[in-house]
């Protein structure tokens, strides 16, 4: 079972308390953007074997959204941080680098 630390209420939340919210850190392309950007925003998603960033909601707990950095292959969790973050904080990047040197995800590394 996946267990994630909720950065809002501070508990370890079991997977059954959580709702998956898809890929994190999407950049919105709305009215006025070109077709390729809009298509990418709507449909194009990462599907990595390895480091991934996902949105999760502590739906049965405090109800707040947060982001988890984890490995899709081993289920190792590198860290979680509030959804009010436009990019992974440095300590999360450092934690990933410590475990997965040379990692990359979209334009992050």
């Amino acid at each position: 079972m996946l267990t994630l630390h909720c950065p809002h209420c501070g508990t370890l939340a079991a997977e059954t308390e959580l709702t998956a919210g898809g890929e994190a850190h999407l950049k919105r392309f709305g009215p006025g953007s070109d077709d390729d950007s809009f298509e990418g925003y709507l449909f194009m998603r990462e599907n990595p074997k390895g480091v991934h960033f996902e949105r999760w909601r502590h739906s049965y707990g405090c109800g707040k959204w947060f982001i988890a950095a984890r490995c899709t292959a081993t289920l190792e969790v590198f860290g979680t941080y509030p959804a009010q973050s436009s990019a992974p904080p440095q300590h999360i990047r450092d934690a990933i680098t410590a475990r997965r040197p040379g990692w990359g995800w979209r334009d992050l590394a």
């Binding site: 809002h8 209420c9 501070g10 508990t11 939340a13 049965y60 707990g61 405090c62 109800g63 707040k64």
Partner: protein
């Protein structure tokens, strides 16, 4: 409804509670919460409840206020006056929720079989509150100083909750904690 007794815990519907959901900046809400309930604003994942009155922490911007059922309307008016012009939400949820009590040394074990919440005595004790699920339904629960636990769930699943707690008790101890 009759009480269920097995292990060393009694499950019963709680006495009627007046319940108000209050959302906003908790620091700004603290004075009126204290005025309405007589309790101090609880810390994160804590409950300040005694004698059916108090405050339960629900999230970083939400608390559950407990007052006598007859005092709910007055409390809402008092909150509305105190927080006039401030961004907040206050709703009487007394009829939307059902509450149950688990009394006895095995309350922790009866609950622990139903939720993924860490209920070890080192992680959850008197004064602690959690939101999680019991079986298939959402629930909030907190432990009083004497070890009794109050469970609150949506009234629409009250029958399920009572039977679930009774089954947990009737199934006997598993030696948890």
């Amino acid at each position: 409804m009759a009480e269920a007794r097995a292990m060393d815990v009694v499950v019963a519907p709680a006495a009627p509670l007046g319940m108000i959901t209050l959302r906003g900046d908790l620091a700004a809400l603290a004075p009126v919460c204290a005025a309405v309930t007589g309790a101090a604003m609880p810390g994160v994942r804590k409950a300040e409840v005694s004698g059916g009155r108090g405050i339960v922490w629900m999230s970083s911007d939400e608390v559950l206020l407990l007052v006598a059922p007859a005092d709910v309307a007055g409390a809402l008016a008092q909150i509305g006056t105190a927080l006039a012009g401030q961004h907040h939400l206050a709703v009487d949820v007394s009829d939307a929720r059902a509450a149950f009590t688990l009394t006895g040394p095995a309350a922790r074990e009866a609950l622990g079989k139903l939720t993924p919440t860490d209920l070890r005595p080192t992680a959850f004790g008197p004064g602690d509150a959690r939101r999680s699920h019991l079986g298939q339904v959402a629930a909030a629960f907190w432990m009083a100083q004497g070890g009794a636990v109050t469970v609150v769930c949506f009234r629409s699943v009250a029958d399920y909750m009572l039977e679930l707690l009774r089954v947990s008790v009737a199934a006997g101890p598993v030696g948890y904690a």
